[in-house]
Structure formats: C-alpha cells, structure tokens
C-alpha cells in the first residue's frame, strides 16, 4: 500500500466562488505533482470542470509549474488570472 501526502488547497477569488470553498485539505497518493493535485480537485468538485485546462498554481506562495512536486504539508493555490492595480 502506497504512502499518501496531505496538502492544503487554497482557491482564490473567482475560483473560491466557483467551487464554493476557500480552503480544504486533500490526501493524495505519493509522489504527487501540481498536475495530480488539480486532477484530484476536479474529481472532488464537479464545478471544477469550469476551471481552465491548466490553471495558474502556486506551491507555498510561489508560482509553480504543472510537473512540480508537491510534498506533505504544502499549500497549493489555484489562482485566477491576476487583476490587481
């Protein structure tokens, strides 16, 4: 039986509204990547089908690429296109 990693998810702005949640924890089979985490989000939330194919993501407050590894305790954020200023 494989180990699991528990990560904290953050959904920001429009994505939080879309999924109806701002923050949650998800357990995934290790090893896992940003892409795997987003796949798990889609499996859990039907509304996630409205997310772009590859939403902008951050791991521990730094922008991350699709294949970047995610470790236990990491905070993975899904970010809509930014619109500050």
């Amino acid at each position: 039986m494989s180990a699991t990693v528990t990560v904290r998810l953050r959904y920001l702005a429009r994505y939080a509204e879309l999924l109806g949640v701002e923050s949650e924890e998800l357990a995934l089979a290790a090893p896992t990547t940003v892409g795997d985490v987003v796949t798990a989000v889609r499996a859990k939330h039907p509304a996630a089908s409205q997310l772009p194919a590859k939403p902008l993501c951050a791991v521990n407050f730094r922008q991350a690429l699709w294949g970047d590894p995610v470790a236990a305790g990491d905070e993975v954020a899904l970010l809509p296109p930014v619109a500050g200023g």
């Binding site: 429009r14 902008l56 407050f61 690429l65 930014v82 500050g84």
Partner: protein, 151 residues
C-alpha cells in the same frame, strides 16, 4: 509597513519610507478606481488578494527593481476590500538621486505588479451586474493566459 492594507492608502508614510537627503527625485504612481470599464459604468470594486504570496511577489519585484536601478528605493502599497470610484487602489513610490531612475523603477514596479501580484477585483456595475475582472479575456492584454505553462 504591510504591502496590503484595508485602510485608505496614505502617500506621506510611503514617501517617508524612501526619501533621503541624497535622493533628489521621487516618482509616484497611483492607481485609482475608475467609473467605467469596457464601456460599462462602475460603482465600486472589491479587491481580494492571496496575502502571503502577494507580499512575497511584491518584495521580489521591488528587489528586481533594486537590481536594475541600485540607487532607487521603492515603496508599494495595495489596498484590499471595498473601494469606490476615485479611491486609490495601489501606490508605487520610487526615490532616487536622479529622476530617470526614479521614473524607470516606478514604472517597472507597477507594470510587473499588475502582471504578477495575486490580487483580484470584482466589479460592481451601475447596471447592477457584478463581474470578476479577467485581463486575459480582454483583447490584446499580453501573454499571461492563466495557464501554468505560459506563466
């Protein structure tokens, strides 16, 4: 001073952060809530941010500016919460010995901030509609398409 603030942005404390007797030029940019967006009348905006990342990315941008213009010192503040037309949403203050670096550093920081800092705004229109602003849906708004691979 925190980069994100729920209170109105005040220019004087930001200027005090960067002014010094050997800096002869201060360039400032203020971004204000406009009364229209893409042809629709705007009543106000709700700004939200991914706080820790917004602080980190802003510090990163300011550090890049210090690399490009070593004589310049830059202070930034971004408002979050409910703003109405005319409110200051963002302020960038850059001081340097001479005006060219002050202008260039100020411009660099606001351009990068708008591209990279995780802040979002929800627009309340005069017609009663509400909409999240999505720069990638406007025409000709640059390379950032909300895709990890392009970022």
């Amino acid at each position: 001073m925190a980069i994100l603030t729920e209170s109105p942005i005040r220019l004087d404390p930001l200027m005090d952060q960067v002014r010094s007797p050997d800096r002869g030029g201060i360039a400032i940019f203020l971004g204000l809530v406009r009364d229209h967006h893409q042809g629709k009348g705007v009543l106000g905006l709700d700004y939200s941010a991914y706080g820790p990342m917004a602080e980190a990315v802003t510090i990163e941008i300011v550090t890049e500016a210090s690399g490009h213009w070593p004589q310049a010192s830059v202070a930034v503040q971004h408002r979050v919460g409910s703003l109405t037309v005319g409110d200051v949403a963002v302020a960038v203050v850059a001081a340097s010995a001479h005006r060219a670096e002050a202008f260039d550093a100020c411009r660099y920081v606001i351009e990068e901030l708008k591209k990279r800092v995780p802040v979002w705004k929800k627009e309340m229109f005069v017609d009663g509609t509400v909409e999240w602003v999505d720069p990638t849906r406007s025409q000709e708004l640059g390379v950032r398409r909300g895709e990890v691979d392009n970022a």
